[in-house]
């Protein structure tokens, strides 16, 4: 397939997934802000979210302090922020538009109507005041898009590049979400029982659509250590980092070319480490360092894929 086309479908996958990850991050922060605070400042969590998403400076250019409604507005609706949900939905649509001849018509129509609806409803139906409704809508549209991709897209290179984009972005997004929560967590004890950890971490699980799965497979109480292990390493949880790395590797193998051997090796190594490692072996320096390292590795893979396949300059 054309390198330029592959580039567009790759970014279509990334932006669509990024919009969903952002919605889930907003969801978690918002739900937590509804819990009793015991005097803690609501703004800390929002500031942490901005920092972990790398948007502190961009936010500071527009607003003085991270008032919750301002952060929500900035992350969800501000089209001047290229990383807002609305901007990501637009970027996904623009990438789909550029390759509308190479993806299925149903896919194009889905991404196009998601953007048209978001744009027309954002100032009226969707606002910072009812962000929960907006998050639900974004998730619903993401589910729909996923279904359309699964149900209508030829399993050729286009599909594989889109999957690579999707799962690299998912690994990145989930790692960032964990980092936000780790920075906010007060307990240093990884195995602390229920009490203060339960609410923040169960909210995080719900944000990843994984709370019920956690209950079913872990049959244990919610603790920081268990949640980390579950979200990072579980083989069958749809949004686990392990599963994302696995799918990046698998789809990369399907498109391998003469120059992609090293990229494939690095993706395979990440996959294998997560497959056979434990939190103790993977994160001797602590979970946060491990997650930052993971972000660097996904960024490296993305650069290498750009050079090996997508016609980006070396």
């Amino acid at each position: 397939m054309l390198s330029r086309t592959a580039d567009h479908v790759y970014w279509l996958g990334r932006y669509a997934e990024r919009a969903e990850n952002l919605a889930r991050t907003l969801d978690v922060q918002y739900r937590l802000s509804l819990l009793p605070h015991e005097g803690r400042d609501d703004r800390q969590g929002w500031a942490q979210a901005l920092a972990t998403l790398g948007l502190e400076a961009a936010f500071a250019e527009r607003h003085e302090s991270p008032e919750p409604h301002k952060v929500i507005d900035f992350l969800a609706f501000d089209t001047g922020n290229p990383s807002s949900i609305l901007s990501c939905l637009r970027a996904a649509r623009e990438n789909a538009h550029a390759v509308r001849g190479s993806i299925s018509s149903e896919m194009w129509e889905t991404f196009n109507s998601t953007w048209l609806e978001a744009r027309s409803q954002a100032p009226t139906r969707f606002t910072a005041l009812n962000v929960a409704e907006f998050v639900d809508w974004v998730k619903y549209r993401a589910h729909l898009a996923r279904g359309v991709v699964l149900g209508s897209m030829l399993r050729d290179e286009s599909y594989h590049f889109m999957q690579i984009g999707t799962f690299l972005e998912r690994a990145d997004g989930v790692a960032r979400l964990l980092l936000v929560r780790l920075a906010c967590a007060q307990s240093a004890d990884d195995d602390a029982p229920v009490a203060p950890d339960y609410y923040p971490w169960s909210v995080l699980l719900r944000g990843l659509s994984a709370f019920e799965i956690f209950r079913r497979v872990s049959r244990d109480t919610v603790s920081l250590g268990r949640v980390l292990e579950f979200v990072i390493l579980h083989q069958h949880v749809p949004r686990s980092i392990y599963r994302s790395a696995n799918l990046v590797h698998e789809n990369l193998r399907a498109v391998a070319n003469a120059q992609s051997r090293e990229t494939e090796r690095r993706a395979g190594l990440l996959h294998a480490e997560l497959r056979f490692g434990t939190l103790q072996t993977l994160a001797p320096g602590g979970s946060e360092r491990f997650l930052h390292d993971l972000l660097a590795r996904t960024a490296d893979l993305s650069d290498r894929i750009g050079r090996d396949f997508l016609g980006h300059p070396a």
Partner: protein, 473 residues
């Protein structure tokens, strides 16, 4: 009181009776309340938006794209009308292809004195780079969009031959799809000839003109990019044919062949269905500032290693200054009498035509020879005194740049507008494919001037489109 006779109406005869081939549709239409029609039209609009059948508006981002208005009342042609029209179109396109081949080889038509050398060689549409270049099958205009109108008693006139990069075929196909979705019952009642196989025929046609010796040709569609106003059509045709939609940056020339950059390395390209004007195709030969084209393409093309459709230099045959000579071409190359009328045209480089035109500006349509899209045109009867005066000065300054034609009373077709169903002027652009054979899918794109009385059907000037039905006997 206005004594102008009413123009030919597609549905009603002069005495107000429904024409036989419209009978079934007219009967159905009278039973539809305006509210139903309004609701169907709204449904069509929202579907077109979702599907993104839009026109990019230059200078605007964010998917701010406009719909071309779609009218839900079809234009219907009887089997007999179509048979005659199609025969005339075939004849005309055969002659036009012969003409382009002649111009770029022996110029027999000039030797015979039908055209002067300066009319050909001083024409900006003449491409000296094409002189002596042989193209597969001698075909230059692989895809022709011939604009046809009806006037007088319903006679067909060719208004314009579009032989460079004619567009609009995607609207022909999408309009049909929309009609079948909105009014399936109509297609059960009326035997409408299908058009959906056009992309199939197009692909076959492009394959048939591949360079000699290529067994399984790789065809691509070359687009200026997603911000071009016709991008939807480019993407649509590539998708429907199952071929790559490429931009200039995706192609390169190496060792005399054209390749595209793919995720698995370079791949040979044999046929380029280009939707870019000649001027932008190859910065080494044409406009050096073009970033849309492919450096070296022209050399590969001249060496016969890639086919470009339409060929470079076809503009010499669809130029308005050459148009008046098409009937003569048909006689000259084919030895046949033209089956379709040309609009009687005055050529203002001729003194007597110039004098007549200046004396009758209020009756005539004056066209700039190199204008397109309804620009650079004076419609005498509807223009103001000031506009006519302005045009008079422009004509006097350079008469050779203009032609003049009588104002044709274009036929009308019932159209659903704000006030309800009312007659509006229409034209027709059938698409003629030339390769090993000539193919025309029955029908074409009907464009309609939505403003009452307006004769300008171009989408850039507020025109809309209609589904075009050719009834099967």
């Amino acid at each position: 009181m206005d004594r102008t006779p009413l123009p030919y109406d597609e549905m009603y005869s002069a005495d107000g009776h429904v024409r036989p081939h419209y009978a079934a549709y007219a009967d159905w239409l009278t039973r539809q309340p305006d509210d139903t029609l309004r609701q169907k039209r709204a449904e069509a609009d929202s579907l077109f938006h979702r599907v993104g059948i839009t026109f990019a508006v230059y200078g605007e981002q964010d998917g701010n794209e406009r719909l071309i208005p779609f009218d839900i009342i079809p234009r219907v042609l009887s089997a007999d009308e179509w048979r005659k029209l199609a025969a005339g179109l075939r004849q005309r396109v055969r002659a036009l292809n012969a003409f382009v081949g002649d111009i770029y080889h022996g110029q027999e038509i000039v030797a015979a004195g039908l055209l002067t050398p300066e009319q050909v060689f001083c024409n900006p549409q003449y491409r000296p780079e094409m002189q002596g270049v042989d193209v597969p099958g001698g075909i230059y205009a692989h895809i022709a969009g011939i604009d046809v109108v009806r006037a007088g008693q319903g006679d067909f006139y060719v208004l314009e031959d579009n032989l460079r990069v004619p567009s609009g075929v995607s609207y022909m196909l999408e309009d049909r799809k929309m009609m079948m979705r909105l009014f399936p019952e109509l297609f059960a009642q009326n035997h409408v000839a299908p058009v959906e196989h056009y992309p199939d025929r197009l692909l076959e046609n492009l394959g048939s003109v591949a360079p000699a010796g290529v067994a399984d040709p790789v065809v691509v569609v070359l687009t200026p990019g997603a911000h071009n106003s016709a991008y939807f059509e480019h993407a649509f045709l590539a998708q429907q044919m199952g071929v790559e939609l490429v931009e200039g940056q995706d192609l390169f020339v190496r060792d005399g062949f054209v390749y595209m950059r793919t995720t698995r390395g370079p791949q040979r390209v044999d046929v380029i269905y280009r939707r870019i004007d000649d001027d932008f195709l190859d910065p080494l030969v044409f406009r050096p500032d073009s970033v849309l084209g492919v450096p070296g393409l022209m050399s590969a093309y001249r060496a016969g290693r890639v086919t470009v459709a339409n060929a470079i230099g076809t503009g010499i045959a669809d130029d308005k200054s050459i148009y008046p000579y098409v009937p003569a071409m048909i006689r000259f190359y084919l030895g046949e009498e033209p089956l379709l009328n040309n609009v009687p045209t005055r050529i203002l480089r001729r003194k007597d035509d110039l004098a007549y035109t200046l004396a009758h500006l209020d009756e005539l349509v004056v066209k700039e020879v190199h204008g397109a899209g309804g620009y650079g045109m004076l419609i005498g009867p509807t223009a103001s005194e000031a506009e006519r005066e302005d045009f008079r000065l422009r004509i006097l300054a350079s008469p050779e740049k203009y032609i003049a034609q009588p104002t044709l009373a274009l036929s009308t077709c019932p159209t659903f507008v704000e006030q309800g169903v009312a007659p509006r002027h229409i034209d027709l652009r059938p698409f003629v494919l030339s390769g090993r054979d000539i193919t025309i899918v029955p029908g074409g794109l009907t464009r309609v001037a939505l403003r009452a009385g307006s004769l300008v059907v171009n989408s850039s000037q507020g025109g809309g489109t209609k589904d075009t039905w050719v009834l099967e006997a």
